[in-house]
């Protein structure tokens, strides 16, 4: 039996933002492992109160750079629900395309810039060698996929980050026919690169298997915007019950200090979505990702990466269908049918289910609101898994560097977003107390 004491302080890299992991290992035993989201808070929940509701979505988009368009659409949906606003069919298509652009761009950033260097023993994606045929292809694939997703976001929503066109009740601007044609061309051209991405992650040997439960917004066809919230063990929540679910399930869970809710923990994000609704993916995605999809449902956390790659393909295939389906004519914004109200928005952000709640008064001011982010929901699972991983590795007497790398890899597989949940993530394995 190894009697390891560990002392290590290092910043976690290649994640979106940061938090603190405190680990104490004493005589080969993990005495403490807390993954604390200790944000230097920017106090959006307080700042939103008293603001005119029309300014709310663009304010709340600033919670997070990378997930910004998910916050934007979730806040728009919450305001629309609060005031009885029904967006047009064209607006719904544009919302779907906005989410597709976001998921393509965000997943590709995570897969290529954050996760892939680990698989090739590199420190940075830019260290990939252009003279090596395989690595050359990977470099070009990565930036082509990201660019296609970013272009889709730009023509539909105005920008890949903090988009300007989506508003409450509709979009301020619609794409030109030339832009639509160009977007389809870019997506079709980059599609083989997406298939290669899926193969890369399908062949990855990284494994961390754990039993957990999964929860996601699920619809047929597959959607980041509509459907019911379901879990793998029978929860089924209709849209009309979102508020109750948010107030009585999600909020208490996210603030819990224990590791389980109702005696169980759950995970949100790509792995949850593909586990729960792989049958509803686009037909072309199912056809061309058959081998990869046969690995789901999966409890291997590293399959979250593969699930993201599959979602990129679905987002491509659905967008290639949706783009030619509309004439994209500028429309009047849909009007409120109520002067005040409470609304819940629920979307599947890249990292999982995102909830916004807003209360609007008769003067059109925000009275109060709540925001529950995916990483807050996954935090407990991450912490439990890190402890298990350390315990599993300790008998092998790993060097601090190896332990650090493996912990970071596992954290990266969850793709946490600390800009949403917090800021300043450092891994601090403190010296064992004597």
């Amino acid at each position: 039996m190894h009697q390891v004491d560990l002392s290590l302080t290092k910043e976690i890299t290649k994640v979106e933002g940061s938090a603190t992991l405190d680990v104490i290992v004493k005589k080969g035993k993990v005495e403490k492992c807390t993954f604390g989201i200790t944000e230097f808070k920017r106090f959006y929940t307080q700042a939103m109160r008293g603001k005119p509701y029309k300014t709310l979505p663009s304010l709340l988009a600033r919670i997070c750079g990378t997930c910004s368009n998910a916050h934007l659409l979730c806040s728009i949906e919450a305001c629309e629900h609060a005031l009885g606003i029904t967006p047009s069919p064209q607006s719904m298509v544009m919302k779907k395309l906005t989410m597709n652009g976001l998921n393509i761009r965000d997943h590709a950033l995570h897969l290529y810039l954050f996760a892939l260097p680990d698989m090739y023993g590199k420190d940075s994606f830019l260290e990939f060698d252009e003279k090596d045929e395989e690595q050359h292809q990977i470099l070009h694939d990565a930036f082509e996929i990201k660019a296609a997703g970013n272009y889709l976001s730009i023509i539909i929503a105005g920008r890949g980050v903090h988009a300007m066109y989506p508003g409450i009740g509709g979009f301020m601007k619609v794409p030109t026919p030339e832009e639509v044609t160009e977007a389809i061309k870019k997506l079709e051209h980059a599609r083989p690169a997406v298939l290669r991405t899926i193969e890369l992650f399908r062949k990855s040997i990284n494994t961390f298997d754990r039993q957990t439960h999964f929860m996601a917004l699920v619809a047929n066809p597959f959607s980041y915007l509509d459907g019911h919230i379901i879990s793998d063990d029978g929860d089924y929540i209709n849209e009309k019950d979102y508020r109750d679910h948010l107030e009585h399930v999600v909020i208490p869970y996210s603030q819990a200090s224990g590791y389980t809710f109702k005696g169980r923990s759950f995970m949100v994000g790509s792995l949850a979505r593909i586990n729960l609704s792989k049958d509803t993916l686009h037909d072309n995605t199912k056809k061309d990702a058959t081998l990869a999809l046969s690995l789901f449902p999966s409890t291997n956390i590293y399959h979250n990466n593969l699930a993201q790659a599959i979602e990129i393909l679905h987002s491509f295939d659905q967008s290639i269908d949706l783009l030619p389906s509309q004439k994209f004519v500028k429309e009047e914004l849909a009007k409120p049918t109520k002067a005040e109200g409470i609304g819940i928005g629920v979307v599947e952000a890249p990292r999982g289910t995102l909830y916004h709640k807003v209360t609007i008064d008769r003067a059109g001011k925000v009275v109060e609101g709540d925001i529950i982010v995916p990483t807050g929901q996954n935090q407990i699972n991450i912490e439990v898994d890190l402890k298990r991983l350390i315990e599993k590795m300790l008998p092998e007497n790993p060097s601090e560097d190896v332990l650090q790398l493996e912990l970071e890899k596992l954290i990266r597989a969850y793709d946490p977003c600390m800009s949403c949940a917090s800021h300043f993530l450092t891994v601090r394995i403190s010296e064992a107390q004597k």
Partner: protein
């Protein structure tokens, strides 16, 4: 012009949503081949694990300053960098990260326990409140064009291209 000389840069993030970091990684889609040739990325948590804070030609700094640790860190970066570029609205103007500076008494009272617990500064600062800033690129997120223009100017100034 020296064949192999690269611009030694760091990309740092303080209190913000990292939107300009995302724009930076999107600009890479078009410019990565050129940047691999001309940029020596010494420090960028979003891109790599092995980061060194030694002598930098240019530090790009995103975000506002919320704690004394932020101020200490940003001063260290300034002392090791020939040029400092403030990136995005939070670095240039403080907002929206500094929105609590304008909170009314009731809201301040509400957030006080959190400010105390995490040792926040009484007021969130913009970058130029703590250090000298050479170039400011405002925007939420930063303007892509202003960033590319500034980068082109710096590459010229340091005789890289």
């Amino acid at each position: 012009m020296t064949e192999n000389k690269k611009l030694r840069i760091g990309w740092f993030t303080f209190s913000c949503c990292e939107d300009s970091t995302i724009i930076f990684t999107e600009l890479m889609n078009e410019h990565w081949e050129e940047w691999k040739r001309v940029l020596d990325v010494r420090h960028a948590r979003v891109l790599q694990t092995r980061n060194v804070l030694d002598e930098l030609d240019v530090a790009f700094i995103e975000g506002a300053l919320a704690t004394q640790e932020h101020i200490d860190k940003v001063k260290e970066i300034r002392s090791k960098s020939k040029k400092v570029v403030a990136i995005g609205a939070c670095a240039v103007m403080g907002l929206p990260s500094a929105q609590r500076n304008q909170f009314d008494a009731k809201r301040l009272e509400e957030i006080q326990p959190l400010l105390a617990r995490f040792s926040h500064l009484p007021k969130v600062l913009k970058l130029s409140d703590a250090i000298t800033v050479d170039v400011a690129i405002p925007g939420c997120p930063m303007s892509e064009k202003n960033f590319m223009d500034a980068l082109a100017g710096l590459l010229k100034e340091f005789n890289i291209v």
